[in-house]
Symmetry: D2
Subunit: 373 residues, 4 copies
C-alpha cells in the first residue's frame, strides 16, 4: 500500500475560526484527494482562547488535543508543524516560539504587522533551520499558477503592465462594526496588510520585484460601532518593477458590489492575461490581437494538481487552494526542502511586508518610495 | 456534545471511480462541515469489480470493508444505506436488492435504462418502505435551489419559457474512444439519459410537469475506437408544460467548447433567470426591465446550507452539491421522512425516465408525444 | 472624380416609421461612408398613408416627392428601386406592382404573410427580371458574415448543432397594447414571421437547408388593450438539417429581460461560435478545447466593409447593417447581378416563409413536418 | 415646417482624416436624426494640407469650399463655427485665430500640448466671447451621462473610489511605425494627452476635481521605424479627489488585447458603476449588495437623446457620440449659452491639461503633485 509508506506529520493549528476551519478541511481532504499524499497529516492539536469552543472544535474536527494557550500546543511533542492562524498580533510571537521549539511553521498572511516584525520571524526560522511558509494561498489557485507559467515561459513577451486590485465591501456601510482587523495594535494595518499583502505577493510571484511605489491610503470611516478605526480602509498605488513594467496596486474593504474580487491583469508585448478570484476556475488569455479566450482551468493539463480532482468542467472551490498549499508544504517537509519558489517562504512574507510598509510611507510622505529589502 | 447525539448511518458505496470518489468526499466532509450533522456517516463498505482497486479504495478512503460483489455489500449488516454508483445496468438490480434487504437506497442518475425498469425500482422501494433518493445533485446547487424558491414564490410572475441544455464535448472528436456509456445495453441511452435526465429533472423541479415533447435524436459517430455506438450523442426537443410555458430541452456530448455547461433560462411575465453550471456560484436575476443582475450565491441568505461554508465571496466547488445532497438524505433518514420535495425520490427518477423515453419516442415517430406517468 | 462616375439610383421608400427611418439613414450615409460607392442613391420619393406625416418625412429626409398612395410612388418615373417597408399586408401587392412596373425591389422581412403569398412575389420578380432582395439585414452584421465565412471555410469541421433564438420582451406584460403586428390579417403571424423569419434565414445562411421541424406555438395573452391577438407570442422548435446537424429554433416577444437578443450558437467537430445581436460587434470563437475567444469585429480584416468605418475598437451600431445591405444591393443593381449568395433574394424570402409555415403546421398537427420548397 | 425655422450654422472643418470623417458624419446625420434639430449645419468648408485629398474630401462629403491653408477657412465669411480637428500642434494657433475672427470654436482633444498653451486658448475665446467646446465626446455616451446623473443624484452615496484606464494596443509591437502622435513637438505627450486627457476629463465630469496625483510614466520602445519616440507609451497614477475619494488613473497604447478599452469603475457607499467603451451601450449598475445589473442604455428613458434613435435593444455606434456632441453645441450656439456643464468648455480642456501636466511632473519628480488651476 502506498498510503502506509507516506510519512506522518503531526499538525497543531492555532485558531478555530475561519482559517482554522479552512486549514482543517484541507488537512482532512488532502490525504485521500491528493493521492498518494506526499505525507499524511495527523490532527495533533488545536488551540484557541475559549475553553468550550476549542473543545468543541477538537471534537468536531478530530484533533487529539485542545489547548487554550498556544504555548502548550507548541510544547506538545506530537506536533511537528505549527499552523499559525491566530490574529496578526500573535503571528510573530507564536511563529518564533515554534521555530525555537524546532517545529516547522506555516503562518497566515500577512506574516507580521510590519516589516521589522517580519524580519525577526524570518531570522528565527532561518536560525532554527525549520521549514517555513506563509499562507499566501492564492499562489495555489490553478489559474494563478498557470499565469506564472505562461509569463515565465515567455508567452506574453516583454511585460508592460501589471494591474491588481483586491476589492471587498464588508465595510462599505459606516454602520459596519469594529473588530480586531480595524485596530492597528492587533492588525498592523487595514486593507493594506490584509488584502494588499496578497496583491503584493502575487505581483512578485507573477512579474518579479517592484522597485518603487507611490500611493494614497485612506480611512473613510474612523468611528464605527464598537470602536475607533486606526487602520486604512483602502489604498491605491502606482508601481514600477525591476523588469521595466509599470502598473497599479489597490485594495479596498469598501468597494461596494465586490465580495471577494481579486482582479489581476497583465499585458505583455505578445499577449495578456486577466483573472478574477470570484471566477477562480477561469483565466482569460489573450495571445495576440484576437481578444481574450476564456480558458476553463479544470483541465488537468493546466495545473499539476488538477488531475487529483474531477473531470474537466467540474469546478473547484476557494478552499481547494489550501489543499494544494498543504500538499506543497507536506512535500517540502517530507523532502526537507524549501517551499520556494512555488510556495511563499517567510522571506516572501518579509518582502511583502517591506512593500506594504513602502506603500504606507509613500502615502504618508506624498513621495515615491523605493523598495529596499 | 452535540456530535455524539447524532445517529450514525453505515454507508455502503457501490463503485469507486468518479462518483465513488465524489460521494465519499461528501460523506467525509459532511460530518464536520454541515455542523452539527443531521446524522454521522460511517464508511461501512465499498464494492467494485477489481479486487486490488477496491482494496486500495477502501484503504484510501477508510472504508471498513471492501467487496468485489455488490451483493456482499448489501448483505453486510453494518450497511444501513446503499449508495448505488455503479454503471446504469446495475442500478435496478442492486437498488431492488438493497430495498428487499431493507436498506435505504441512494441511486445515481439516470435511475434506470428506461421507464419500465425505473418503475420496478420504484415499486420495490415503496414495497420495502425504505428511504429512497436519486442523485440528481444539481437540485442541491445553491443557485438552482434559489431559482426554485424565486419561481415558486411568484417573483417571476407567470412562467412563459423554460430553456435548458446540458452541453459537454468529450465526444466531439470522432477519435474519442468507446466506453460503457456508449452502449445501449449498459447505459440505456446516451446524452439523453446521462445529461438529459438532469435537464428533465430540473425542468420538473423548477417549473413543474411537462405535458408533451417533440424531439430529434442523433448519433453523429457510430464507430469509435473500441466499439460501435448505439446510443445518441445529442438530442434537441421542444416542450410544453402543464403551466402553459413552452421551451426547449437539449443535451449533447459533442458541443465543442462546452466542458460541463448546464445552462438554464427561465422567462416569466415579471422577470427572468439564467444559470450556467460552469459558474455555479452565480445566478443572473432579471426583475423587470433593467437587465440581468449577476448575483453571487455565496451569501448565506441565498441558500439554507451556505452558512456552513465560507464568508460571502468565497466560492464553492462542484462537489459541494453532494455534501448538501447527503446532508438532506441523512436528515430524511434520521427523521424517517421522504427526501421530497427538495430531493429527488425514485418517483422523480421514474418520471424523468418517462420523459426521456417520450423524447426518444417522439424522435423515432416524428411526432409529438404526451407525457403520461 | 470617382464620385461622378458612379451610377445614380432613384429610390422610392414605402413607409416613414421605424424601417423608413433606418433605410433612409442608410441611403444618406452610404454615399460618403462606403466610398467610392457602387452607386449613388437619389432620394426620389417616399410614401405613407398620412398626408402631413409623409410631407414632413420628405422635408426631414430630403425626398423629392411624397405620396399617400404607394401606387403613385411606383408609377413615379424617377423611382428605379422600390423599397417596400410597409406593413406585411402590402408586401405582396406593392412588390408585385413594382416588379410589373420594371422597378427593382427591396422588401422588408418577412417577405409575405405566408409561403403561398411569397411564391407569387417570387414569380413576379422572376417574370420581370428585376433585381430583388429581402431585407434580412442581419446577413450584413460583420460577425454573422464572419461566422458564415468560418463555417463555409471548414474552420469548425463537421457542424453538429445550430441553436438560435430571437428574444424580445415588449409583450411580456399582458397590459401591452395591441397593434397591427398582433393581427393575422395584417401580419400573417406573430413572433414566428417577425423574429422567426430572421432566425430561419440565418440558419439557412450559416449552416444550410433544414429538412424537418417539430414545434410548439403559443399565444400567452389573447386579449390586449385595443384588440384580440390571433398570432403567436412565441414558438420553440427542434430542427434537422440536410448536413446532419440538429438544433433548436426559437423566437419570443415575451422573453422578459431580452430587448433585442438574437443569440446564435454553432458547434462543430473542430470548433464553435456564439453571437448575440445586443453585442453585435463581438463574436465568440472557440477553435478547439480552449474555450471561447471574444473577438472584436471592428478589425477591417474581419469583414469586407469594416475598412469603411473607424479604427479597430470603435464599435458600429445596429443601423450600419442597412448601410452594408444597401451597398450590396446597389452593387448588384449597378452590375445587373443577383444579390445572392451574400444577400437574400425573394427565393430566400420564399424559403424562409416555407420553413415558418412548416413550424406552424408542425405545432398545429403535433407532428414533425418536412421542409419542401 | 419646423425644419426651416432652425437657424443655419456654417461649419468649417480643419482635417479630413479620422476626426474629419467622424465629425462630418455627425454633421450630416444630425439634421434628420436629432429632429427637429436645434440648428441646421451647413457644410461650408474643409481644410487640409494636400490639395488633391482635400478636394476629394470636399466632393465626397459635400463641403462648399476646400482650402489647403486653415487660415483661409477661418477667413471664409460663410464659416460660423471652426471645427479644429488637425494635429495637436495647430490646436492653439488655429483656435486662437478662429476666436479672434469671432468664430465659434470646437477643438479636438487634447486642447493643447500642455497647460500653458491651453491657457492662452482659454484666454482667447473668453476675450472674443465666442462659444467654445473641447471634443471630449465621451461625455456624450449615454452610459457615461447616465453615470453622472446617478452619481450627482446621490444614488451611489458617498463616493469612495474612482478607477479609470484607457487601454489601446496599437503600439504593443516594437515594430509599429512612428507617426506625429509619437513626437513631443507635434503631440505634446503620448498616451497621457491622447488617452489620459479623456480619463482625466471623465474623472472631473463624474466625481469632481482631483486634488493630487502620484504617477509613473513610461516609454517602452524609444526607436520605431520612422523615428525616435520622445513621448510616453503609458502612465499609471494614484489620485485623490476633493470629495475624499481615492483611485487610479491609467492610459496605455501597449495594453495588448485592448483595442479601445476605456474602462471606468466607481464605488460608493450605496452602490457602484462599471463601464467599458467597447460595450458602450451597456452600463453595469450595482445598487447595494446584489451584484451588478447589466443595463442596456438603448432605452430612451436612460438618456435625453436616445429617443432620437431606435427602439430599445438596437445598439448605437461609437460615432453617435459626435452626433450628440454637435447637437449639444448647436443648441448652445443657437441659444448663445455655454456648453457647460454637460459639454466640455476650453476651461475644462485647460483643467484636463493641468492635471496631465501634474501627472507628468509627479512622474518626473517622484513625488505627489497638487492640482492647482
Amino acid at each position: 500500500m502506498q498510503l502506509s509508506s507516506a510519512p506522518e506529520i503531526g499538525v497543531g493549528v492555532i485558531g478555530y475560526a475561519f482559517m482554522g476551519k479552512a486549514h482543517t478541511n484541507a488537512l482532512k481532504t488532502l490525504s485521500y484527494m491528493i493521492y498518494p499524499p506526499p505525507a499524511r497529516p495527523r490532527l495533533a492539536a488545536i488551540a484557541g482562547r475559549t475553553e468550550a469552543a476549542v473543545q468543541e472544535a477538537a471534537a468536531r474536527y478530530g484533533y487529539a488535543s485542545a489547548y487554550t494557550d498556544w504555548r502548550d500546543l507548541i510544547a506538545d511533542p506530537t506536533v511537528d508543524l505549527v499552523d499559525n492562524g491566530g490574529p496578526n498580533d500573535i503571528h510573530a510571537e507564536a511563529s518564533i516560539a515554534a521555530a525555537e521549539a524546532h517545529k516547522h511553521v506555516l503562518c497566515e498572511k500577512p506574516l507580521a504587522r510590519d516589516a521589522a516584525e517580519a524580519r525577526t520571524m524570518l531570522a528565527a526560522v532561518n536560525r532554527a533551520g525549520v521549514i517555513h511558509m506563509v499562507a499566501f494561498n492564492y499562489r495555489f489557485v490553478p489559474a494563478i499558477r498557470h499565469m506564472r507559467d505562461l509569463i515565465a515561459g515567455g508567452a506574453l513577451g516583454t511585460i508592460y503592465h501589471f494591474r491588481a486590485r483586491y476589492l471587498q465591501d464588508w465595510l462599505s456601510s459606516p454602520a459596519a462594526a469594529h473588530s480586531w482587523r480595524l485596530s492597528q495594535a492587533t492588525a498592523g494595518s487595514g486593507a493594506l496588510g490584509d488584502l494588499g499583502s496578497h496583491v503584493v505577493d502575487l505581483a512578485r510571484f507573477l512579474v518579479g520585484e517592484p522597485t518603487a511605489v507611490s500611493a494614497t491610503l485612506k480611512t473613510f470611516t474612523t468611528q464605527r460601532p464598537g470602536g475607533t478605526v486606526d487602520v486604512d480602509d483602502a489604498f491605491a498605488a502606482s508601481v514600477e518593477f525591476a523588469s521595466g513594467a509599470i502598473g497599479t496596486l489597490e485594495a479596498s474593504r469598501v468597494a461596494t458590489g465586490n465580495k471577494n474580487g481579486l482582479i489581476i491583469e497583465v499585458n505583455g508585448s505578445n499577449g495578456s492575461l486577466r483573472f478574477n478570484l470570484q471566477r477562480l476556475n477561469e483565466l482569460a488569455v489573450c495571445s495576440g490581437s484576437d481578444g481574450y479566450t476564456d480558458v476553463l482551468m479544470t483541465d488537468p493539463a493546466r495545473h499539476p494538481w488538477m488531475k487529483h480532482w474531477w473531470p474537466s468542467g467540474h469546478i473547484i472551490g476557494w478552499e481547494h487552494t489550501f489543499v494544494h498549499e498543504f500538499a506543497h508544504l507536506f512535500d517540502a517537509i517530507a523532502n526537507g526542502t524549501s517551499v520556494a519558489p512555488d510556495g511563499a517562504t517567510f522571506e516572501d512574507g518579509y518582502r511583502a511586508a517591506v512593500i506594504c510598509d513602502a506603500i504606507a510611507t509613500a502615502a504618508r510622505d506624498h513621495a515615491q518610495v523605493s523598495v529596499v529589502y
